[in-house]
Amino acid sequence: MGIFSKLQDKIKSAVPRSVIRDLSELLSEDQIVLDQSGLKAYETDALTAIKVIPFVVVMPHTTEEVAAIAAISHKYSIPLVPRGAGTSLAGGAIPLSNAIVICLSRMNRILDIDLTNRTATVQAGVTNLAISAAVDRDGFFYAPDPSSQLSCTIAGNIAMNSGGAHCLKYGVTTHNLLGVKMVTAEGEVLDFGGPYYDPAGYDFLSIITGSEGGLGIVTEATVMLRPKPEGARPLLLGFDTHDAAGDCVAAIIAAGHLPVAIEFMDKPAIHSCEKHANAGYPLDVEALLIIEVEGSEEEIDVGIQQILRIASQFNPSHKRVAQTKEEAAAIWLGRKSAFGALGRISEYLCMDGVIPLSKLSHVLAKITEICKSYKFDVANIFHAGDGNLHPLIMYDANRPGEFERVEKCGAEILELCVLAGGCITGEHGVGVEKRELMGLQFDETDLYNQMRIKLIFDPNWDLNPDKVFPLEIAEKFREEEMIKPQGDNQ
């Protein structure tokens, strides 16, 4: 942490009171949080082990206000941390002590729904599920479905390039986003894309998606809507070994089937989810697959038969197809509340590595080994179709030093994922959590090529400045390549 926090402390001592004066000239009282108890609500996100009380929190209502706030942060060169619902599991929205946190959750209006274009244009603070809810009756939905969809915002989804269980078929945020309105660090308002495919010129949307609040503050988004399938039905397949479950998934895909979702849970995950949701999961299996098939009743029947036929080669010890809507809902509720269910048992660190499917059983065995060596229990949830693995490492947050230990354990797991041919994050993002692990996946030149882009949008390095890039490399980069702001002698 050294260099950067020192740098930040230095700036902090210099946060002038006039920042508050400027902000209060711009915003009404109820848009500014300054008191300690109010600020405490913003000290962390879903990576609760790290807490930092910010300098001030502001809640804009309009793009113009966002631009003016950015201009203020730019004028004083103090960090600006964008925030949606604060559900980031990577600490993407964790403040700095000298930061203005700009929380977009009040910008929650749906601006336009155009069913001819099959697009929705919404303000940044609209929740993921609210988009689908708004077009549900017309037979459409917004496809990426993070389990946090009830609360997470579209801007948070864009910042993290979020995915969900049904992304196997429909893609993640980057595949479903057509346009954004974004405010730069200097307070300039930019539009990218629009209600049409494939923007002109360079594909800026591709780098804005997943930029974790480091390139600009998204204030509006235009997303693709898709027609809802006629129906969908999940089936459960239980196996005695991880191997058999993994091989079954590979065989389904190799046979040319791409179900809308293939989810995998190991025994500890099954048990805690079942306790929580009463989904009827089998408790005597080592691995459980939830596979969802879409279409008309008849198409679903055919699809399920085909999958069962393939699965039978791997001797599933449990097979059950949801017979009713309620049963289907319970199966998904169990899966989607997995994080919550485990959270009731213990504090956990949720990892988000991706691995090639063929390495599944090797990686799972290794994960168990690694966690054992740290004396942590672990439950594994896995978007099996696309290789995105969520080991939830359980630890005792009240014991001093445990968080550092669990972080180390997690880092070993992510290193394992990279060595297996995968990556350190499939959908949760880097944030502060995996910042120092970026070196597992990228060398310095790779990172320089990314950081140069940040400089274009954020020349003073004010936007969410301590996220994504390893601190020392970022510091070195800035020293070498950043144009020092005029009159700045820090």
């Binding site: 001819t116 274009n117 099959r118 697009t119 037979g139 459409f140 993290m160 390039n161 893609g171 993640v172 980057t174 300039e188 930019l190 049409y196 495919y197 494939d198 002109a200 010129g201 360079y202 594909d203 591709s206 997943g210 027609p227 006629e230 590979a250 065989a251 895909i253 190799a254 040319g256 089937h257 791409l258 279409g295 008309s296 008849e298 198409e299 055919v302 991706v354 090639p356 499917l357 063929s358 179709g385 995105n388 041919g421 995968g422 990556c423 350190i424 994050t425 499939g426 949760h428 995996k434 996946q441 990228f442 030149t445 790779d446 320089y448 090529n449 990314q450 882009i453 940040k454 994504v468």
Partner: protein, 406 residues
């Protein structure tokens, strides 16, 4: 014409880039050169072909992923994945008939550098959407990589997708990793003949709003339809509206009935079986409907909402023929006998509607007078220049191909 540089390994390419930087010259980055006539041509740039970077380096059918060096022929990749019943789902465009060049050429990296996706883009996404990872060398001569061989990867900025539509002006891709999909078991197409444009678009809109996963939704005007219908139906002299379904035989039988019911009010509907359906969409992908004519050709991405009105306005001002793909979101316009190929009118109208117009083929007129790519507004131009500057500060990679200096 200058001698073509043909690097074999990274080292060669880096040396060539360094050499250009030292001399203050620039390189024209090419694969097989099949899209060489799109965009500005700058005769001062020394041609460099990546065609010897040719090898499939990794293929894992059960994970739907393939990696290949940049210059690997697309046909080679298709041959390899066909054996596993997989395909490149974005239905890339083949310009050979339009440019009257030999078919079957094209290198894999160019699919992404140019990001021309065909009719199935509507359902399955663009070339860019299927680019999982890259290795590349930028104009500073630096090797960098982004993404990987797994389906999901959100670590850091997605420089792989940034290469889409960058036309070799930011970096030279040396290897790409692509997401594949299983080939649908079979397909069929529903045809309607002679519909008025606005009615046709309404029919397409209805079809693509159903849950039946329409994977192609086009309306070809009478002039354009003719060459695409060759061998497909005996009807040749009418506009055609086509809706494709791809899935199992049972499923498309069911879905096509549903869509027929839905669209019955629009007119008679003809069921086109797999072989003819395949031929029709192959003709589409090969742009047969635009070939063999002396017209200028525009490709315009816009919102389906505004497409019809825009096309109407354009037709009023410019002697032109209009067809639609992507359920109305893509216009193909051929213009004839206009000094600027219709550029100023077309671009003004499309700018108002939202979207952008690229000049794909300049016909007999000189393309130098018209910017092939849609001009950017000053703010975007500023960012575009800044990005170019970061990746290629000495402007050695394809300068001027896209825009002045870019």
């Amino acid at each position: 014409m200058q001698d073509m540089l043909t690097p074999l390994v990274d080292r060669d390419l880096k040396d060539m880039i360094q050499d250009a930087r030292d001399k203050g010259s620039a390189l024209e980055i090419l694969g097989h050169g099949t899209k060489r006539s799109i965009g500005h041509y700058n005769e001062k740039n020394v041609p460099l072909s990546m065609r010897r970077f040719s090898e499939i380096t990794f293929y894992e059918p059960s994970e739907l992923v393939i990696s290949a060096r940049a210059g690997t022929p697309i046909v080679e990749i298709e041959r390899e994945i066909k054996g596993y019943n997989q395909h490149l789902p974005f239905e890339y465009l083949d310009f050979s008939s339009l440019f009257d060049t030999e078919p079957g050429y094209g290198t894999v990296a160019s699919l992404f550098a140019t990001n021309f996706s065909g009719s199935r883009r509507l359902l399955k996404g663009s070339a860019r959407d299927h680019l999982l990872g890259i290795k590349a060398i930028n104009g500073r001569g630096e090797n960098f990589s982004s993404g990987g061989r797994v389906m999901k990867n959100v670590a850091g900025l997605d420089l792989a997708k940034l290469m889409a539509n960058s036309w070799g002006t930011l970096a030279v891709m040396t290897e790409v990793t692509i997401k594949l999909l299983p080939k649908p078991p079979t397909e069929c197409t529903l045809f309607m003949y002679g519909l008025e444009e606005d009615i046709a678009l309404e029919a397409l809109r209805s079809a693509v709003s159903t849950p039946f996963e329409v994977s192609g939704a086009v309306h070809l005007c009478r002039d354009h339809a003719h060459p695409c219908l060759e061998g497909v139906t005996y009807v040749r002299d009418k506009a055609v509206t086509a809706i494709r379904l791809e899935n199992t035989a049972k499923s498309i039988a069911y879905r096509s009935e549903k869509i027929k019911d839905l669209l019955s009010a629009f007119g008679d509907i003809y069921y086109i079986d797999e072989p003819e359906s395949k031929l029709f969409w192959q003709n589409m992908r090969q742009l047969q409907f635009l070939s063999g004519r002396d017209d200028a050709v525009w490709r315009i991405s816009t919102s389906p909402q505004r497409a019809y009105q825009s096309a109407r306005q354009i037709k009023k001002l410019v002697d032109s023929q209009v067809s639609y793909d992507w359920g109305g979101g893509l216009l193909w316009i051929s213009t004839r006998g206009v000094a600027d190929m219709g550029s100023s009118d077309i671009r003004r109208i499309i700018a108002q509607a939202g979207g952008h117009a690229s000049l794909i083929h300049a016909g007999s007129e000189a393309s130098q007078i018209v910017s092939p790519f849609h001009p950017l507004d000053p703010t975007h131009m500023k960012l575009t220049k800044a990005l170019k500057q970061m990746f290629d500060p000495d402007s050695v990679l394809n300068p001027g191909r896209m825009y002045n200096g870019i």
